[in-house]
Amino acid sequence: MVSLITHDYDEQQHAIQQIFNTEGIVLLQEFLLSPKKVRKEIQKLPSTKLFHPLRHRWTVCTDMQLRPMLNDVREYLKMITGETLDPTAYILEKGDYSILSDDIQEEHGIVAFMEISNKWDDKWGGKLGLENEMVHLPKNSLLLVSTHRHRWFIKYINHLAKDDKVIVVFRERKKK
């Protein structure tokens, strides 16, 4: 029994797996039982502010503690996809962004985006883009995407933002 995730999803695992295998994409809303708790725990971990004007400005957490902290989610995603996905947390404040720069690495295979920001108003920016398509990621949702290759970005966070945007991206481990 997974404990971080809303119980319904545990029960609907097979149905979700079927949708994902058929459609290649599935959005799971009200995903975590306590997104606030998970977010606060992540925000306590060591992280690094990264800035390259042509690529991104954001804070990234790849701390060793992130994996065990989110192990319930990783296990659930493994049940759905058959793949082990590892998390990276991205925290964006006013003025932060990422761009589809020419040298940005493409994601290969399965990727999941888990939105765990506090209250977020789309007027503040911060939308998720997959190549040139904007995706609405509701609060406390997880978007699971299976593609051969894609690039993603997060729209600029403007001066109206009253909080930080927190997104955890789960990726397949690079195969040796």
Partner: protein
Amino acid sequence: MEFEKKDEPFAHIIFKDLLSSVALHEIKEIIESQPFERKSADLFDLEQTTDLSDEQSLSGLREKMLSLKEIIKNELGIDVTSLDMSAMHYQECDYLLCHDDQLEGRKIAYILYLAKPEQGGELLFRSSTEPYDVQVTIPPLENTLVLFEVSNKSLHEVSEIIKGERLSIGGWFH
């Protein structure tokens, strides 16, 4: 015609009070009557017109711009023969993130400011070797024209509009 040329972080020329006040007023009226379309991508949120190169009412402005060919040649060492033109309108929260404008055929970028926002909307230049700090900040003063050579060094952006609106005509000499 008076202008200021600077070389860092990349060569650029600034003309203040390019047009007469009558001409500026006329052009603002023409631009404000054009249809703008909202454009949104990873790099920007802003409004833009279609290409105004064939807009008859702007022929005087195009001639004025093309008359700068000699200055461009003398100061930047670049021959240009034509230009394209569109208008950009930034509202509160609009922005244009860092990029270099490089695309085939583009030799010189230009921006003529028609309306300045109350806060934000500055043109920022960064060094390609040390891009983490802004090296030059150019406020979008009405009737100011900025020109610079397009290259992998011409890193520039428009800071977010915090208050007011920014209106400009811009494009590239080819």
